[in-house]
Amino acid sequence: MSKYSMHLLVCGGTGCHAAESDAIVCNLRDELEAKGLNETVQVILTGCFGFCEKGPIVKVMPDNTFYVQVKPEDAQTIVEEHIIKGRKVTSLLYRDPKTKEPVADSKHMGFFKKQMRIALRNCGFINPENIDEYIARDGYAALGKVLSEMTPDEVIKLVKDSGQRGRGGAGFSTGLKWELARRNVSDEKYVVCNADEGDPGAFMDRSVLEGDPHSILEAMAICGYSIGASNGLIYIRAEYPLAIQRLKTAIKQAKEYGLLGNDIFGTGFNFDITLKYGAGAFVCGEETALIHSMEGLRGEPTLKPPFPAESGYRGKPTNVNNVETYASIPAIILKGAAWFSSIGTEKSKGTKVFALAGKINNVGLIEVPMGTTLREVIFEIGGGIRNGKKFKGVQTGGPSGGCLTEKHLDTPIDFDNLIAAGSMMGSGAMIVLDEDDCMVSMAKYFLEFTVEESCGKCAPCRIGNKRLHELLGQICEGKGVLSDLDRLKNMSLVIKDTALCGLGQTSPNPVLSMLDNFRDEFIAHITHKKCPAGQCRSLLEYIVNAENCVGCTACARVCPVNAISGMRKEIHKIDSAICIKCGACMEKCKFDAIYIS
């Protein structure tokens, strides 16, 4: 029986890990030991709390005190003030961005209030390197229940009835996918977990793997039982070393307990999981390309059908699901299909994890019921736009999705509504843009990504995206013509219709949605040669404000191309034809005499 009266949870996700959370744990333990409190207070390294913006996080249980941006040297203060004297350390508490007042505990933080955590239920709550903590939270009970009390068909029916749809992006029914894999008869089948998270701004899969690796192992075994497979493979990118290390630890522990391996729970069911490393190609998130990569072939997609459920890894029936999809499975099994389907909207059940990034106050990882509006996500949970700037748009679905604007703020987020609004769910990355972001450059940025990541197998994606990117580049440089807008649109539609795989079919989406929502901005670039957001360098003009200039010559001396002329104590002048828009003069000027037009 534990005698601990207090638990200190320290975030050990990649972000906080990089910010020395290991040192915080060490210092806390040393400090507690020095004060003779190591028997009363337990320090636990957990997975991600989701509040990455203000990491590293230390959470005190049971009073839910939430300390942010903790430094290793704060350990002493926390122990002396909070633990010994019982006074919360105000300087480390999270401050409400509006009132600037410290918030006493996580229950009162806007960030957590509207969240509902199913996939993230154990992230930031248990020690991911300790299987016992997972078991204490009903871990492996779903696998036990399935193996001892249910037939594979019953499991599939339950998952189907829950209405869960794949969290990788396409939103295909999980239960149906399992059923297809079950129906195909074969001597061997495979369960694959797609952990090739590649969208810019998405980090939910990494966080689940780092914070709750056992939930994925358990769900894969459940899937294996349902479809009749005894081998599982996790395809994970090698650039996720912490997730890989925690998965390895988890697999080892599960095997020691006999929860993976042969004759699990004495039911005769065998299931084993191995890791396969990817080199980080975006296209390998597409399931056929992923399977080829695992087979040691080039990571290129092939035409479907045949679907992996018929002929996948090594030509055998294979079920591929995303990390977040698996993470909810044990909860669905234990709490039932009706519970899960009571959450969310008519056609999108359950919750969805979103990674908030960009110009938002609370950068981090959140989980909300489907049907929550963008406004709630961005302004309530996300804490609004940074530095009081104006909201301009939010890119959902990464480079495959589109940009939603002010008019979509009250749209309930689910698979179908996002598609209707010209975007898509994708993996759940949300990149928030403010008034300083240029939408033409943004579209160009996402295309740059697709051009780089295109495998080159089919012409529409290989050549078409390159041409789209060039056109956008010309517009950004002020060399565009109005007919480019039609060319952009036509080419985008052709690529969507003719590309081989999901990557190519969705790659023009950012262009199309930016064109739809911000046509004026494209026109400003083309006809007025102006970038309204002031981002496109070629369209900027540096000008000397004659009223402020004192003729100190500082700007002229710093200019790398000698574009600035003027004698000492005379007003200077910048020659736009020579100026390379590096901004060095503006930075150097002490009198605010240089501005951008």
Partner: protein, 133 residues
């Protein structure tokens, strides 16, 4: 490590392990269970609040009462230390002063178990402002 060879095994193991996680699990929904706050400022500790805190931690467990015991700073009743605040689910918190082991036992047996008030209640004579909207 011994193997878990049946669902019954797993359930047994979970029961054993859950105690170690109680502090965290209960903290998820503290409003549904008994919350005891022990004032642990200098005055409280000098008057023996540490013993009282340990008593509550141990006895709630032993008497199968689901609750969280936390410490807090000075409540301002230094004359009446050790002081504790007890909040039963759905009720206003009640502050007790001069809590020794005997009174602590009464508080558990009477107030926490049956809701019957015991001696030593300090009427709350102030308002606390809530910084949240």
């Amino acid at each position: 490590m011994s193997k878990i060879s049946s669902l019954a095994d797993l359930r047994k193991k979970r029961e054993e392990l859950q105690a170690g996680m109680d502090i965290r699990i209960r903290a998820l929904n503290p409003e549904n269970i008994v919350q005891v706050k022990v004032a642990m400022a200098t005055c409280g500790i000098a008057s023996g609040s540490k013993t009282i805190m340990e008593f509550f931690l141990e006895q709630l467990d032993r008497r199968n009462i689901e609750g969280v015991v936390t410490q807090t700073g000075c409540m301002g009743y230094c004359y009446a230390e050790p002081t504790i605040e007890v909040k039963l689910p759905g009720q206003d918190p009640v502050v007790f002063g001069f809590v020794d082991l005997k009174r602590a036992d009464q508080i558990i047996e009477k107030y926490i178990k049956t809701g019957e008030l015991v001696d030593g209640i300090i009427p709350v004579n102030y308002q606390t402002i809530d910084l949240k909207e």
